[in-house]
């Protein structure tokens, strides 16, 4: 590959990264005057242009690495820099590409919100953090950006912080993400202990340190250092934990459905390109680190998450919740793909998923927006997010229906869409991987097929319920299409959801330019039959499921009892929240209560007691001092005073008085003597 002739590329990339941040800062400075979002949109558009330029320069070429010394600790210099390879520039392009429509959409969607100036600020920060994350050239910088992404998402999820549920949700997201952050930090620490550097290129290059390290005699040996081999697995699992939390995999997926409390545009951004993509991106970035055990765990978690979330999505009524579980499920696909070694397919799916999921959310947002409008107009009290209150909207919102249908088809994996390509790529790789796996692991690909089928079903259910089924109430016919500020971004994303963006050939995933840019070195042997069979099978399953959904929801031939165990399990999201509540939150709260009580009564009590004892002693001492010591002194003084006072009267200066006293005393002595001798 020819070396790109330009050396200013890192600076261009830096500009792309910093533009949203600058927009955010400007918005922050402008405060309430920046309500139009012009600053933020300009910034993200500029960022998109520069990112596109960088992408065009780097894609398919050798990586560009711009590095500057940051600081020195002892003898160890720390560098900060940008690593621009195919993975990072793809993400670098993807983020503003998704963010720009979201920004435009937000202009209309967030119009009139009293906190909209904050909204632009947070959005800029969010994009900046994610873009910095993808171009970061070392794990430490990546960790910093990782935290920034978490923080920005915290701000955005809790954007409507006056709602209690929003506050709970952003707290939950933040806390759950902290668990993952610990994993990431531990992983980074292990890597630094082993290799002495955090530079991604040095570590994860095909000829990098990680690739050069070997496991021998139960020792993990790399560049003269060694530690027990278990640490290799542990570091992989630690990074996996970070990705699990960030990308909402089981068992740390619980924050994502709750994160729907944020504005819908934010949800679309989180689910498409910024937040959850970070985990998958991280896994792809450090792929060489994972050994067999870690990959196997990753694959199992991914598959389980994909199935579980798809299952949960089946019965949800909240339109955003369905999409949230859909995201979890799709992320499960990606993680499973990485676990099966096909990170190129996973990233491909990440890219296609970014477009259609973003579109789904924006379209759902459009529906919600209009439902709220309807509510306001006619004073209705229907839940704007509940699909049971909708129906037949395709007549009133034909464009929204069209774009959402395209996105749904992409999600369901129907031909001619981007989703078809990436999902089939994943499934094919899964089958190829499964073919060489021992035992039960062979079954994992078939679970993915099942999840794909469930995906087709629940998304068909969503579309049919909202747009096709008979209207729930007559008033719905009064609803109308959204404005062009919201339509244009959706149309753009709909175009991006089609196959043409990724491949000229609508059915052959191997021709997609995107996957060709980053094919892994080692892949399982290809099964030529799978490349034909899998798309056909998957499409057939999807069609079957869509037909089933049609029959159940449009024709009204609903065969299931809503009281069944499986139904309830799905509706309540597997009772995982309740389980966590019981298993983790309640004990922690109880422990906190106990500790608080202990603190209050034992520790504080002891201290209070000591204090009180001290005060008592002091009071006693004070009393002693006042009454015993001082009292004695004062008593002596008083006695002396009284004596003096009494005796003073005798000191009259009258001679006769003295004489009288003298005689009187002599008399007393005499009488005493007399009485004694008598």
């Amino acid at each position: 590959m020819p070396q790109p002739s330009v050396t200013y590329l890192p600076f261009v990339a830096l500009a792309a990264v910093l533009l949203p941040f600058a927009g955010s800062l400007l918005s922050a400075i402008a405060g309430r005057r920046s309500q139009s979002g012009a600053i933020a949109i300009t910034a993200i558009a500029g960022s998109l242009l520069t990112a596109a330029y960088v992408f065009a320069q780097v894609w398919g070429n050798a990586p560009v690495h711009g590095q500057w010394q940051w600081f020195v600790i002892g003898e160890t210099p720390f560098h900060v820099g940008l690593l621009l390879d195919n993975q990072s520039v793809l993400m670098l392009l993807l983020v503003p590409l998704i963010a720009l429509p979201v920004h435009l959409y937000s202009v209309a969607y967030m119009k009139g919100d009293p906190g909209i100036h904050r909204y632009w600020m947070y959005l800029g920060l969010f994009c900046f953090a994610m873009m910095a994350l993808v171009v970061a050239d070392n794990l430490f910088l990546l960790y910093v950006c990782w935290e920034l992404v978490g923080f920005a998402s915290y701000l955005l999820i809790g954007f409507w912080f006056t709602r209690d549920t929003a506050v709970q949700a952003n707290k939950k997201a933040f806390i759950v993400n902290r668990i993952g952050d610990i994993g990431l930090l531990i992983g980074i620490a292990i890597l630094y202990a082993q290799f002495g550097t955090l530079d991604i290129r040095t570590l994860f290059d095909p000829h990098g340190l990680v690739a050069a390290s070997v496991v021998a005699d139960g020792q993990w040996i790399a560049s003269g250092r060694s530690m027990p081999a278990i640490w290799l697995t542990l570091s992989g699992l630690a990074f996996l934990l970070g990705a699990i939390a960030k990308s909402a995999q089981f068992p740390l997926h619980v924050w994502l459905p709750d994160a729907m409390e944020g504005p819908t545009a934010v949800s679309s951004l989180i689910h498409a390109a910024t937040m959850v993509a970070a985990g998958v991106f991280l896994l792809a970035r450090i792929f060489p680190l994972f050994n067999g055990t870690a990959l196997m765990v990753m694959a199992c978690i991914g598959v389980f998450t994909a199935c579980m979330a798809a299952y949960f999505a089946l019965t949800q009524y909240d339109i955003k919740k369905i999409l949230a579980f859909s995201t979890i499920s799709q992320l499960g696909f990606m993680v499973a793909g990485i676990g099966m070694g096909a990170y190129h397919a996973a990233l491909f799916h990440l890219a296609t998923h970014a477009f259609f999921k973003c579109l789904l959310f924006l379209a759902a947002g459009a529906v919600i927006h209009e439902m709220q409008h309807l509510n306001k107009q006619y004073g209705l009290e229907i839940d704007p997010q509940d699909i049971r209150g909708m129906g037949g909207l395709r007549r009133q919102m034909p464009l929204t229906f069209t774009v959402m249908a395209i996105a749904a088809l992409a999600l369901g994996g129907f031909p001619l869409t981007g989703g078809f390509l990436s999902k089939d790529a994943l499934l094919v790789h899964a089958l190829e991987w499964g073919a060489i796996q021992p035992g039960l692991l062979r079954l994992l690909p078939y679970f993915l097929f099942a999840a794909a089928g469930l995906t087709a079903f629940y998304i068909a259910r969503l579309i049919f319920k909202v747009f096709v089924a008979p209207p729930a109430i007559d008033r719905l016919t009064q609803i109308h299409e959204v404005g062009k500020w919201m339509l244009v971004p959706m149309l753009f994303l709909a175009a991006c959801s089609l196959f043409l963006v990724f491949s000229l050939h609508p059915f052959d995933v191997g021709r997609a330019w995107l996957t060709q840019g980053m094919v892994p070195d080692t892949l399982p042997p290809t099964l030529p039959a799978a490349h034909t069979l899998v798309p056909v099978t998957a499409t057939l399953i999807a069609l079957l499921m869509a037909w089933l959904a049609w029959k159940w929801y449009v024709k009204g031939a609903y065969p299931l009892r809503t009281t069944g165990l499986l139904y309830k399990l799905s509706l309540n999201q597997g009772y995982l929240d309740k389980l966590y509540d019981l298993a983790v939150i309640s004990p922690v709260l109880r422990l906190s209560h106990v500790l608080r009580e202990a603190d209050r009564y034992l520790v504080d009590g002891t201290i209070d007691g000591l204090g009180r004892l001290g005060r008592l002693l002091a009071a006693l001492a004070g009393w002693m001092d006042q009454y015993v010591v001082d009292g004695t002194v004062r008593l002596i003084g008083k006695i002396a005073y009284g004596l003096g006072n009494v005796l003073r009267r005798t000191q009259t200066g009258r001679v006769q008085y003295y004489l009288f006293t003298m005689f009187f005393i002599v008399l007393i002595v005499l009488l005493y003597q007399m009485i004694i001798h008598a």
């Binding site: 006769q656 009288f660 005689f663 009187f664 008399l667 005499l670 009488l671 007399m674």
Partner: protein, 180 residues
């Protein structure tokens, strides 16, 4: 006869002294003191101390009393005026504390005196046995002179010096003016 005379003297001395101390007018009291001193001199004679009685009369009546009168006249002009004008109250009201103490002392002394017979000192009995009691026929003045010049010479001299000092001091004190 002798007892009657003693009782007369004793009565005069005691009664006059009682009247004396309770008298309001000092000039009269001083003259009564004169009587008391004479009566006391008489009682000394009954104690077979003629020289002492004479000395009493010479010194007290001739010196002390005259001094007292002079002092009285020099100091108590108001009282002199009172004396000339006559006073409405002959006796002063008794001061009860002083009276109490004095009477108690009197009681104690009388008790002791009346008990004296039973507790007579041994030397008195010895003197009575040995016949070294002064008898009315003794020439007491001669004996006194001999003793003063022999046995009591030192006290005599000391007292004479003391007397001189006292007289000098009195003279110094009595000088007019604040010269030191």
């Amino acid at each position: 006869m002798e007892s009657i005379l003693f009782y007369c003297f004793a009565t005069v001395a005691v009664g006059t002294s009682f009247i004396l101390v309770s008298m309001r007018n000092i000039a009269r009291a001083l003259f009564l003191f004169f009587v008391v001193l004479f009566a006391m001199a008489g009682l000394y004679v009954f104690a077979l101390a003629d020289f002492v009685a004479l000395t009493q009369i010479l010194i007290y009546v001739g010196g002390v009393l005259v001094l007292l009168l002079f002092a009285f006249m020099l100091s108590n002009k108001e009282l002199l005026n009172q004396l000339q004008a006559g006073t409405s109250h002959f006796f002063a009201l008794p001061v009860w504390q002083a009276l109490t103490v004095a009477l108690l002392f009197l009681g104690v002394l009388l008790y002791a005196a009346l008990q004296f017979d039973r507790h007579e000192p041994q030397w008195i009995a010895a003197a009575r046995e040995a016949g070294t009691v002064i008898t009315p026929t003794d020439r007491t003045v001669q004996h006194l002179g001999i003793h003063l010049m022999t046995r009591y010479l030192l006290p005599f001299e000391v007292i004479s010096v003391l007397l001189m000092m006292a007289l000098m001091g009195a003279a110094h004190l009595a000088r007019k003016g604040g010269q030191t």
